[in-house]
């Protein structure tokens, strides 16, 4: 590991528990109202840890031949879905890790899956197509062929699904089977997030820029100047600020007033290598960021995009995903070496907060 040495948790992050999975931990999330923390590794190992203690509740191996690619936890937390290189989507119940359904989509990778906000639909990306299944695993809807492989999906509401691919973002009404909106731009869109009200679409682009559209006004803008590809994007719960990666600093654009066009973004600098994941807390303007150097920081952001670090910890290796506990009392990180770490997130009472850097 270059550029950084291991350090003990600082600020509001406190020693919690840690565990190990067999291979590169690729997906994670909190299920059962935070009682369980789920982790999947690339080799197809699936693990459920007790949220509080880190005790292993159950585990399964080799769940997608070739490798696991994606996981989506149902909004109620009782079930979740996984997808992989075998072209299958599997539905599980969270308590005991029993597989309840296996959907064979086709020969090829299934890289993205996502439950709709109301939990009635599961969207599945298969190459240039998107399928929507209902709760019983029946195919409810299928998109037309996209011009290229679908790179990201997001639900703007429980009936409307957004897809991104090379050159366009498309909004589909999956209930009445129609295209609500198509936003075009000649560029390779590698990631996509929607603001919580669904009005702003932000996409990370291969050419080291972030492109976004306001659906209501049809206005679009491009934020350039990133040294790398901003694959990681996150909106806060109010849709005021957009945190972006693409370098070793977190660049935060504020949508206050007429922004972010013509404004200077906030820049959060403590990581020594490029950002590898970003996540906002469920309430408030708390951002967690992880980087390739294995460092994790939490930040308190202002509405103008400026922010200050309030906690930091070392996860040991490239942080592949980061997840706030449903009540924001803990922060979990998984890494490229199979490391799983959960820190308590709370104010330090006895010790004096330490500086950073």
């Amino acid at each position: 590991m270059s550029g950084i040495e291991a350090f003990s948790p600082k600020g509001m992050l406190h020693e919690g528990w840690s565990a190990h999975v067999a291979d590169y931990a690729i997906v994670c999330g909190w299920a059962l109202q935070g009682k369980t923390f789920l982790v999947g590794d690339v080799a197809g190992g699936l693990y459920a840890f007790e949220g509080e203690s880190g005790k292993l509740i159950w585990q399964t191996k080799d769940i997608h031949k070739g490798g696991l690619l994606a996981m989506s936890i149902h909004p109620d937390g009782n079930t979740f879905a996984t997808a992989g290189q075998d072209g299958n989507v599997c539905i599980w119940e969270s308590k005991e890790g029993k597989s309840t359904k296996n959907l064979e989509i086709g020969k090829g990778w299934v890289e993205h899956i996502k439950w709709s906000p109301d939990g009635n639909f599961l969207a599945v990306v298969f190459n240039k197509y998107v399928y929507v299944f209902d709760g019983k695993g029946r195919e409810h809807w299928r998109s037309e062929e996209h011009p290229s492989t679908v790179s990201a999906i997001a639900w703007s509401n429980s009936n409307e699904l957004a897809t991104s691919c090379y050159g366009q973002v498309t909004f589909f009404d999956v209930v009445s089977d129609k295209i609500n909106q198509k936003l075009e731009w000649r560029g390779s869109l590698v990631s996509m997030v929607l603001s919580p009200d669904g009005d702003i679409v932000a996409c990370g682009s291969q050419d080291n820029s972030v492109h976004f559209w306001r659906r209501s006004t049809d206005q679009d803008s491009e934020m350039t100047g990133y040294p790398g590809k901003p694959s990681h994007l996150a909106f806060d719960q109010t849709g005021t600020v957009l945190a972006t990666g693409g370098s070793d600093r977190v660049t935060v654009w504020s949508f206050q007033g007429d922004g972010p066009e013509g404004t200077v973004p906030g820049e959060l600098m403590l990581h020594t290598e490029p950002i590898s994941c970003l996540a906002f807390s469920h309430s408030g303007m708390l951002l967690a960021s992880g980087a390739r150097d294995g460092s994790v920081f939490s930040w308190f952001l202002q509405k103008d995009g400026q922010g200050d670090p309030i906690g930091g910890a070392f996860a040991g290796d490239l942080v592949s995903q980061i997840a706030w506990h449903p009540d924001d009392t803990a922060l979990a990180a998984i890494n490229a070496n199979g490391g799983v770490t959960v820190w308590d997130f709370k104010v330090r009472i006895k010790t004096v907060p330490q500086g950073f850097g």
């Binding site: 490798g67 290189q85 090379y166 560029g187 390779s188 050419d207 490029p274």
Partner: protein, 460 residues
């Protein structure tokens, strides 16, 4: 992550039917102890026997700025992005492209994408050529000439279907188009695995180790004559010729067998890269120096050669001896005073003669050439020129490779480019080695003379 070894990637290109799948199967079935992941793009050909094979549709993504060098293969970024997470499961990647693919975006993917660049290193580009059909293909599609131009290794396959003579012509044509590549002949893609994997073709140091001259040279001289001379003084005489001056290098103890001639040519090539020293008629020709015979005056021009003890001298001349009616005569003390008596002097015939394939006209639009110069360049001037050149001509310049000697820099600068992208990085110390510049350009309709001229302006 940075302390881990990057996973090498070989790109395999070639037209449909050139034998890519056969070669892939050979590589995968051979005992090489490697775990190879194959990203295959061509459906319909013979299936791959074993190994981790991933199918991906070729998705060439252009950027909004329209810049050709930013064009990448989106499918590769996606697939490799996932593959790199399971790096313990494989240690080599082969990317097969369709016959219609432009190799540029494939290669660029490994330079342009920050995450891919971090985990993978482009090891080399191997192009399979169907010996029986390539002539036809070269005439009909840009892709085939681009695939030839981009290659580090050209496998001339299905040679059993073509006559030897045609093969030689074909090979010469391919070398013209891409002098950087190594050409290997095969019948049924039966080439040894070492010739296509772990080439480190983008690691110039290794390229240099394997091939000291680095380039397949087109010699800047056309003729070599070896003359067996006893001790004494000789005259090197030239008549009126096509140019007012001619470069020449003279060596002592020049062997006349093929190997010696080639060795001589190689040493000579290095000397030719140095600034020539003009010498006038009547001057003595120095040994092992790049000289320019000044031939402006009318009539026969004679230069002197002094031989201390009997030796075979080798003359490497810019033009053929014939063009200037070049000859060597022994100067006899009595006659030397009276030059009018020249007909009494016996001309010494060479014991060996060799006409080199000189820098000749290229028939193909796609071609390559090298610049080789001793000395230092001004980094700012070079950067200005290259930036301008690549921004104006980058579309047509497929690959650039070489070493540069920056004035004031103790280390050698390694230069790599694919279209408009280029990197110039300090490499090892020059130490006692002669500081020189070696650059190869491969592209379409390159103006060689102008580029060399512009490069020369960057020399200190």
């Amino acid at each position: 992550m940075s302390n881990k070894q990057k996973v090498p990637v070989t790109i395999l290109t070639g037209f449909l039917g050139s034998g890519k799948t056969t070669l892939l199967n050979r590589i995968l079935s051979e005992e090489h102890g490697k775990k190879i992941a194959v990203i295959e793009n061509e459906y319909g050909e013979v299936g791959i026997d074993q190994g981790l094979v991933i199918n991906a549709d070729e998705e060439v993504f252009e950027m909004s700025n329209g810049c050709i060098c930013c064009t990448v293969r989106g499918d590769l970024i996606r697939v490799l992005g996932n593959l790199m997470k399971r790096r313990d499961k494989f240690d080599y990647v082969l990317v097969e492209t369709t016959g219609l693919a432009d190799p540029g975006p494939v290669a660029q993917t490994f330079f342009m994408d920050d995450e891919i660049r971090e985990e993978f290193s482009l090891d080399g580009i191997v192009t399979l050529v169907d010996a029986a059909h390539i002539e036809q293909q070269l005439g009909h599609s840009d892709e085939s000439s681009e695939q030839v131009a981009f290659a580090d290794v050209l496998v001339l396959n299905k040679t059993d279907l073509v006559k030897d003579e045609s093969l030689d012509n074909l090979e010469a044509r391919l070398r013209d188009m891409n002098r950087m590549a190594r050409v290997i002949r095969s019948k049924q893609a039966d080439v040894s695995i070492d010739t296509v994997l772990n080439l480190s073709a983008f690691d110039l140091d290794q390229v240099l180790q394997r091939r000291p001259t680095f380039l397949e040279p087109e010699y800047p001289f056309e003729w070599t004559g070896v003359f067996s001379l006893d001790k004494g003084r000789y005259e090197l005489s030239l008549e009126e010729g096509p140019d007012p001056s001619m470069s020449l290098v003279m060596f002592l103890d020049q062997g006349k067998d093929e190997t010696s001639l080639n060795t001589g040519a190689e040493s000579c090539l290095r000397l030719y890269a140095e600034q020539e020293q003009p010498i006038n008629p009547g001057d003595i020709v120095p040994v092992g120096k790049h000289v320019s015979l000044q031939l402006q005056s009318e009539g026969t021009k004679s230069f002197l050669i002094d031989v201390e003890k009997a030796t075979d001298i080798g003359l490497f001349t810019q033009h053929t001896a014939e063009e200037f009616n070049l000859r060597i005569t022994k100067v006899k003390a009595s006659i030397a005073v009276d030059k009018s008596n020249a007909q009494n002097v016996s001309t010494i015939s060479p014991i060996a003669e060799r006409v080199w394939v000189a820098e000749h006209e290229h028939d193909d639009e796609v071609g390559s050439f090298a610049i080789e110069r001793v000395g230092d360049v001004d980094p700012e001037k070079l950067n200005r020129w290259l930036s301008r050149l690549l921004s104006e001509k980058g579309v047509d310049i497929f690959r650039t490779k070489g070493f540069i000697s920056y004035a004031g820099e103790s280390r050698r600068i390694v230069f790599q480019g694919v279209h408009m992208l280029f990197t110039a990085q300090p490499d090892k110390e020059w130490g006692n080695a002669t500081r020189r510049n070696q650059l190869v350009f491969i592209g379409r309709n390159l103006d060689e003379a102008e580029m060399i001229q512009e490069f020369d302006k960057c020399l200190v």
